[in-house]
């Protein structure tokens, strides 16, 4: 089954007179286990598309099925549940809760999902080990380097075993060496069977994905399959 399946997805901001058409009809299908990079200059609509694919926003028109579930008409609370269950976000600015320990940050999505306390803790510790920072569970995010913080964010994104890992410029705030390490981690996760959607404006980063979808003016300009170098 396909993880992402959109048909004629449109998004219009504003009303009649000064409406901005951010998306003009996106048809996109992403299968399970794919590693896709979504690229495009600013203003191309990639942020808007990412918001809709991430269920942070709803489309103005068209349909969107995420992991077999139609989500374009869902209410805020249902969307929250979908985000919790099916999507793992990784942001450019890490977006960790600054006052909660690393462990709590990783536990948070599981808390919302109602995972029992003990299991929550065990899974969080396992995840931290998996992303390569097993010994930082009880420190605050402020004590970590950028790369480490992004690893925590990835661990958090994986907490509820999401159908889709959605990364928005995950290396944008990192130096190139650390960025490469993070990208390597994504490739590793992909190799383990995760579906990854990477949003970036950097063609070099996009080149690490096996498939590249290029947006321009709210439409898919190119959709290329290519084995990663």
């Amino acid at each position: 089954m396909n993880i992402i399946e959109t048909r004629g997805l449109t998004k219009v901001y504003g009303s009649n007179g000064n409406a901005v058409h951010a998306l003009r009809g996106i048809d996109l299908v992403v299968g399970r286990g794919e590693y896709v990079a979504l690229i495009g200059p600013s203003g191309s609509g990639k942020s808007t598309l990412m918001s809709i694919l991430g269920c942070l926003d709803v489309p103005s028109g068209g349909t969107y099925a995420l992991d077999g579930r139609q989500v374009e008409k869902l209410s805020g609370a249902d969307l929250a549940a979908i985000r919790n269950e099916k999507i793992g976000f990784v942001f450019q600015q890490y977006n960790l809760l600054p006052r909660a320990t690393i462990l709590r940050n990783v536990e948070l999505p599981m808390l919302y999902a109602g995972v029992p306390r003990k299991e929550r803790r065990q899974r969080a510790l396992d995840l931290l080990e998996r992303v390569g920072i097993p010994d930082k569970a009880n420190v605050l995010p402020g004590a970590l380097s950028g790369g480490q913080r992004q690893r925590v964010a990835i661990a958090r994104a994986l907490a509820n075993r999401p159908a889709l890992l959605l990364a928005d410029e995950p290396t944008g705030a990192l130096d190139s060496k650390t960025g490469q390490e993070v990208l390597a981690l994504f490739r590793e996760l992909h190799a383990q069977g995760n579906t990854v959607l990477l949003v970036t404006h950097d063609p070099a980063i996009a080149a690490t994905a096996e498939r590249r979808v290029e947006l321009h003016d709210g439409l898919v300009l190119r959709d290329q399959m290519e084995k990663a170098a």
Partner: protein, 417 residues
């Protein structure tokens, strides 16, 4: 959303949030603290005063007394034949009063007939009020015999020439301290002193005068002695009859029956006055109410003021926390969860503020009661009220910021810089 330890987690998070922002939290809790302190302190001070007042009433033998007193019925002009023929309040009224159906609620009766007389001992010679007393006067007025003995039923029935003195009277007429058995002359009647009452002493506040000093001046003899031998009054007229009815509701019924009985005894002339039971009932219930209302109001005002400050601080801090809220929403927190998190924080703040308010309130009322010399009384109900009000207002004022936070669009919150 399932709630596996969710409340615990929210509480922990709220605690972390408060601890990380001590300054902001303190400002937010300040209104709660002052409100709680004001309500608790006010209630405690008024409770302390009320208890002190009740102690006074207890010392004079309780507030559950119904008094009957004679009054003048002729205000101007000359008395009619009927007026002249009436005997006024007398022992018969007291005795009959004890026989009406509702009189079973009466558990003590006292009568008094006073006279002004020259009192002489071998040491002193003074003009004094002499109290001719009967029945349960001694216990009903909170007197206790300290030396010698009190009056016996036989003394009362025969109008025996015996006297019991208050402590002041005893020290004036018998400065040597030998009192019991000594002779005393009241008017022209020679009597024997058979006992001395315990000194009555009560001060509203430390350092104030003894409000019961006059009670220690008492020279008590059987009422029949005053009526028969000093006044030559065969009808045994009285100055006052007092019935003790512990149940105030029963007192109201008894009061009605007594009133009609005495009226008929007095040939339908109302030449007597009964205490107003209804008014007393009301007073008993509303004692201190005004102060409670005032203090509760000032507490509520503090809580409202504090609540408004809270709303503003929360809204301001929301700006700092928009991103955080966005992140939580992105990883799956529904609006409801964000709402609950904010409410939990407000609740925790309110409870911590209340605890601090308790301390301030107790300290406040302690200082005030100490300064007016009244023992401090802390009623559990005051704590309940103070907390209840704080929680209600804390809850109400937390609603708006919490709702605002929970209704943000996750996408906009995430993009907020």
């Amino acid at each position: 959303m399932k709630t596996s330890g969710a409340f615990h987690a929210r509480l922990l998070e709220a605690w972390i949030e408060l601890r990380q922002n001590p300054g902001r939290s303190f400002l937010q809790a300040l209104g709660v603290m002052l409100g709680v302190a004001s309500v608790l302190g006010g209630f405690s001070i008024s409770d302390s005063q009320r208890q002190q007042t009740q102690r006074v009433f207890a010392r004079v033998g309780g507030i559950d007394k119904l008094n009957v007193m004679p009054t003048d019925t002729v205000y101007q002009g000359t008395p009619s034949a009927l007026h002249n023929a009436n005997l006024g309040l007398r022992l018969e009224d007291a005795v009959d009063g004890g026989k009406v159906p509702t009189a079973k609620a009466v558990n003590a009766t006292s009568v008094i007939k006073s006279a002004r007389a020259r009192v002489r001992s071998e040491f002193a010679d003074q003009e004094r009020d002499v109290n001719g007393i009967g029945a349960d006067y001694v216990p009903l007025n909170g007197y206790e015999v300290e030396q010698g003995r009190g009056f016996s039923a036989h003394d009362f029935a025969t109008g025996a020439p015996v006297a019991v003195l208050g402590s002041e009277a005893a020290s004036v007429f018998f400065p040597t301290g030998e009192i019991v058995g000594k002779p005393l002359r009241i008017g022209n009647v020679p009597v024997t002193v058979i006992g001395v009452f315990h000194e009555k002493n009560f001060r509203f506040r430390e350092g104030q005068q003894n409000i019961f000093a006059w009670r220690n001046r008492i020279v008590a003899v059987p009422s029949l002695l005053v009526a028969a031998r000093m006044e030559g009054d065969q009808y045994h007229r009285l100055n006052r009859v007092t019935f003790r009815v512990p149940d105030l509701k029963a007192m109201a019924d008894f009061s009605k029956e007594l009133s009609s009985l005495v009226t008929s005894n007095h040939r339908l002339e109302t030449d007597f006055r009964l205490d107003d039971v209804a008014k007393r009932l009301q007073r008993q219930m509303s004692q201190g109410d005004v102060y409670n209302i005032i203090f509760m109001l000032s507490g509520v005002l503090a809580l409202i003021g504090g609540g408004m400050v809270n709303v503003n601080i929360q809204l301001a801090s929301l700006k700092e926390r928009v991103r955080e809220v966005g992140v939580k929403m992105a990883i799956g927190a529904p609006g409801k969860e964000i709402f609950k998190a904010f409410m939990t924080e407000a609740l925790l703040l309110t409870l911590l503020g209340s605890a601090a308010g308790f301390l301030i309130g107790i300290a406040f009322s302690w200082v005030i009661t100490k300064s007016i010399g009244v023992p401090l009384a802390l009623a559990p109900l005051s704590f309940v009220w103070a907390t209840l009000l704080a929680v209600v207002f804390g809850f109400l004022f937390a609603l708006y910021p919490a709702a605002k936070a929970s209704r943000q669009s996750p996408m906009e919150a995430l993009r907020y810089e």
